[in-house]
């Protein structure tokens, strides 16, 4: 087991499937999530939200609400001074938390109340009188770029550009005009993708408690409590060190909980009322006023020689970022052609504003959309060239030494191995029946490292506390405990991992970009090695021999050298028991930026059956092959593959934000925003490949995000093979498939 090349050791516990340490609390209902904390004297809070997609706020009269008995605080933008110090991004966050002069989307918060109970809070909301002046609105990404479109953020408008154009980012290399001129076959198509939400089952929730002396506490469901602390402290004019943020267990994030949506308001209410304030979003509020991903509209053009060599590729994709600018176009441009070695390629990502909620990251943000266009186009190219779609991809696959579209040259990467594994997988040979089709697609995500801090403290009985600052979104605690146990040479059962609050550790970056296990794992390794040095030195003192004569093996200090050879080894437990006399408590630390994150590639296979009468697509079989670098706990790596694929399937078949002509969100609930349920999906087979990341001591690559990237293209390809229609828009919902079938039939008749 294990790859010796990077660590020179056979792994003893890393790679085994142990029980996760927080399991019992989660299966008994004891685990505490964002809405599961209460404080004495706490108030209930509710937000008043704009019913208009775009409106000037002329006046807000809160006087009657403030006078209602039981109401302890009412907040509008005038209670939130601009303390952002010219930081445009932070000001956008402030304006998104509560509208200042204009409501920018249906559901944008305009006021908030804190009262002694829900009944009174609801009455208070009704007593707040807002005078709006409705403005024209736009919710479609292409319409937002037309002349005459309403300006969503005039302060960001660029000279000579449409008012809602927020910049474009171009990536690639070579000469695409020359490349296309050399192509024997060119396929050029347009595609669209609908807006989706991360769909975490737990709504945003927090408990804020601020004191008149400028100190405060926040209990909150978040992917990054340190980041939330920085943002909230700055917006409220508090010292970072005086705001203690504790992350609750998190009921799903996927990128949507990397950004504050209402927490500064809860803190502001608490400060004004001088009492703890609990704030929980309803599901409608989550859909309307947290951070879904972008909808897009794009063109993709790929050209190849007769033998299947792709010579040129171009993609231009407009990313609808909601009412505030973001980096979505940049991320899309960087990832579009990442899986392939194309000598002349150009990918352009354009950022556009609309009267929709502020977009946040959603698992491999911006990549699934471009991949839908690119993977669909590659399959159409394969058809015209009469080449097998897997072979076409293999022929043009990126390898170690290939120039990535966003610049650097790839080190060892897993895309070719995953495609080979797909080609050779038994799934590819399963028989297909009528109206059934198979599709394959590839995907990529960068993954990141980031600032990480951890403490490893050894108890007097030799049991170990590992405190990390990355929120555990999916079970990483088990992997981190395995890593600490591996390094120390002790049993996994004696390691307890805690997620420290912001006062216990230095800054830790958010759990996003698939960095949790990678970064905190790296920190755990070095904190443990730090502790081992101390343990060896203590053993040396206990034996009264020079420290250079001590090694660490299998959880024990061993004396080396002929003159010490008879000394029986000292266990970690024995050394810990004597710590008081050898220098005090024993601990290891590690503060660093974990750089060198390894990219993760995946290839997926999907079989579908399309019902030509209803347009419904059933997923019959699904296989994920992805490179994990090193799977610390294979169950949880598989879980990430399966969960990401399921989200991609929902995005491909059913999920989208539907806006009315009035600019209001029509399907802000799980009934009509239809995510996959248990009966929609088959078993999702997984195959973990391990092409180690040379920059991590164990070879770990982030794994959480990549597998949401292939499903859109894979399913589009499968539908095409099943019933002969190519879908250019996701979700490929039944009405769209029926229309495509009808159009195809009409074309045949014509």
């Amino acid at each position: 087991m294990g790859d010796k090349k990077y660590t020179g050791q056979d792994f003893k516990v890393v790679g085994t499937r142990v029980k996760r340490p927080d399991g019992i609390d989660k299966v008994t209902g004891r685990a505490r999530y964002g809405a599961d904390m209460n404080a004495p004297g706490q108030l209930v809070s509710l937000m008043l939200r704009s019913p208009h997609a775009h409106a000037r706020i002329i006046k807000i009269d809160t006087s009657k609400a403030e006078k209602l008995k039981g109401v302890k605080a009412v907040i509008t933008a005038k209670d939130l001074p601009d303390l952002t110090n010219g930081n445009a991004g932070l000001f956008d966050t402030l304006e998104n938390c509560m509208a200042r002069d204009r409501a920018l989307y249906d559901g944008h918060a305009v006021a908030a109340v804190a009262a002694i109970d829900k009944t009174i809070a609801k009455q208070a909301l009704k007593l707040i009188k807002v005078t709006y002046e409705k403005l024209p609105h736009v919710t479609d990404v292409d319409e937002a770029l037309l002349p005459g479109a309403p300006a969503i953020q005039p302060r960001y408008a660029q000279d000579g550009q449409p008012v809602n154009f927020m910049g474009k980012a171009e990536f690639g290399h070579g000469d695409i005009d020359k490349g296309f001129a050399e192509a024997d076959v060119i396929v050029e198509r347009s595609y669209k993708t609908g807006q989706t939400h991360q769909g975490y089952i737990e709504p945003h929730a927090c408990l804020a408690s601020v004191s008149p002396d400028g100190t405060g506490e926040l209990w909150v469901t978040t992917q990054g409590h340190f980041s939330y602390r920085n943002t909230c402290a700055q917006l409220l004019g508090m010292d970072i060190a005086k705001l203690k943020v504790t992350s609750s267990e998190i009921g799903g994030g996927f990128g949507g909980k990397t950004h504050v949506w209402m927490e500064p308001i809860a803190l502001a209410l608490s400060r004004k009322a001088n009492r703890p304030v609990k704030m929980v979003m309803s599901r409608v509020e989550v859909f309307k006023a947290s951070g879904p991903t972008c909808s897009t509209s794009m063109e993709v053009k790929i050209g190849a020689k007769k033998d299947g060599t792709i010579v040129a590729a171009r993609a231009e994709c407009r990313y609808m970022g909601g009412a505030f600018p973001g980096i979505w176009g940049t991320l899309g441009g960087m990832t579009a052609f990442a899986c392939y070695d194309i000598p002349n390629n150009k990918a352009i990502g354009v950022n556009v504003l609309c009267n929709r909620p502020k977009v946040a990251a959603y698992r491999a943000p911006s990549a699934p959309m471009m991949a839908f266009g690119v993977e669909s186009t590659i399959d159409q190219l394969a058809k015209e060239l009469k080449i097998n779609p897997v072979e076409l991809r293999l022929k043009n696959v990126a390898k170690e030494g290939t120039l990535a579209p966003y610049g650097p040259v790839w080190g060892p990467i897993g895309i070719e191995p995953t495609l080979q594994a797909v080609r050779d997988h038994p799934h590819m040979r399963a028989k297909l029946g009528k109206n059934q089709g198979r599709g394959v697609a590839c995907g990529f995500w960068f993954n990141i490292g980031g600032q990480t801090c951890s403490d490893l403290n050894i108890g007097q009985d030799g049991s170990v506390n590992l405190t990390v600052g990355t929120v555990d979104v999916g079970g990483a605690r088990a992997s981190l405990a395995l890593i600490a146990a591996e390094e120390l040479g002790i049993s996994y059962d004696h390691v307890k991992v805690n997620i420290g609050d912001t006062s216990s550790l230095g800054h830790n970056d958010t759990t996003e970009g698939s960095r949790g296990t990678f970064s905190s794992g790296m920190a755990a390794i070095f904190a443990a090695r730090d502790a081992v040095e101390i343990l060896k030195a203590r053993a040396a003192k206990m034996w009264q021999i020079p420290p250079e004569d001590v090694t660490w093996e299998d959880g024990h200090a061993k004396a080396v050298g002929a003159e010490h050879g008879n000394l029986p080894p000292l266990s970690l437990k024995e050394i810990a028991a004597k710590a008081g006399n050898t220098g005090g408590p024993i601990a290891g630390h590690h503060e660093a930026t974990a750089d060198g994150a390894g990219v993760s590639f995946a290839s997926h296979i999907v079989d579908v059956e399309v019902d030509p009468e209803t347009g419904k697509t059933q997923i019959l079989r699904y296989t994920v092959v992805q490179d994990a670098g090193k799977a610390i706990h294979p169950d949880y790596v598989e879980g990430q593959f399966q969960g990401a694929a399921a989200q991609g399937i929902g995005w491909a078949l059913n999920e989208e934000y539907i806006y009315g002509d009035d600019g209001r969100l029509q399907n802000a609930g799980f009934l009509d925003y239809r995510i996959p349920v248990c009966s929609d999906l088959p078993s999702i087979d997984t195959k973990i490949l391990e092409i180690p990341n040379p920059s991590h001591p164990y070879g770990i690559r982030g794994v959480g995000e990549t597998s949401i990237v292939p499903p859109l293209g894979a399913i589009g390809n499968a539908v095409s093979n099943a019933v002969g229609v190519r879908m250019y828009q996701v979700p490929m919902s039944p009405p769209r498939i029926l229309k495509a079938l009808d159009d195809a039939a009409a074309d045949e008749v014509a």
Partner: protein, 162 residues
């Protein structure tokens, strides 16, 4: 609004409370009785995170009024284990990594128990449809189904011995 006085049984315990007529049973459990295992994911009965049983029937607590619990028997996740002895479903969920964030887990456990109480040897399809009222966004359901199958096997073995 005058409160409604309710006397009921929850996890075999005698419980009394007073709540507004329009308060949901979910809010009563979480805000008045300290039983926070049932979660609010949507408030409209679409996600199943608040699954409980009401007189042995699987229901969403957000769709039941606190007042409707009068004289009836309720079970919640807090009643599933027997002291420190976990129910086989709870055990197998952990063994099979059938939870990632865990927010949907209490709801799934209640729904799965209702299934296995009525059908000790369900097919995979029966399991998937019985659990279709519970949303999970993390796992893709694969390991949840495997955990239910494993627990069903444990329970059949247990019951054979009886």
């Amino acid at each position: 609004m005058t409160g409604v006085h309710v006397t009921t049984t929850i996890n075999d315990d005698p419980i009394e409370y007073v709540c507004p007529a329009d308060e949901s049973l979910l809010d009563v459990l979480r805000d008045r009785l300290g039983l926070m295992g049932a979660k609010e994911g949507c408030g409209t009965g679409d996600c199943g995170a608040c699954s409980i049983t009401l007189d042995d029937q699987l229901v969403c607590a957000c769709l039941v009024l606190g007042a409707e619990a009068e004289g009836r028997a309720i079970t919640t996740i807090e009643g599933m284990s027997d002291g420190e002895k976990l129910h086989p479903l709870q055990d197998q969920f952990i063994n099979n990594a059938a939870l990632q964030c865990g927010i949907c887990t209490p709801g799934f456990l209640i729904a799965a128990k209702v299934l296995l109480d009525r059908e000790p040897n369900p097919t995979e399809t029966e399991i998937r449809y019985a659990l279709a009222g519970n949303l999970c966004r993390c796992t893709g359901y694969d390991k949840i189904v495997k955990a239910v199958q494993a627990a069903a096997k444990d329970l059949r073995k247990q019951n054979k011995k009886k």
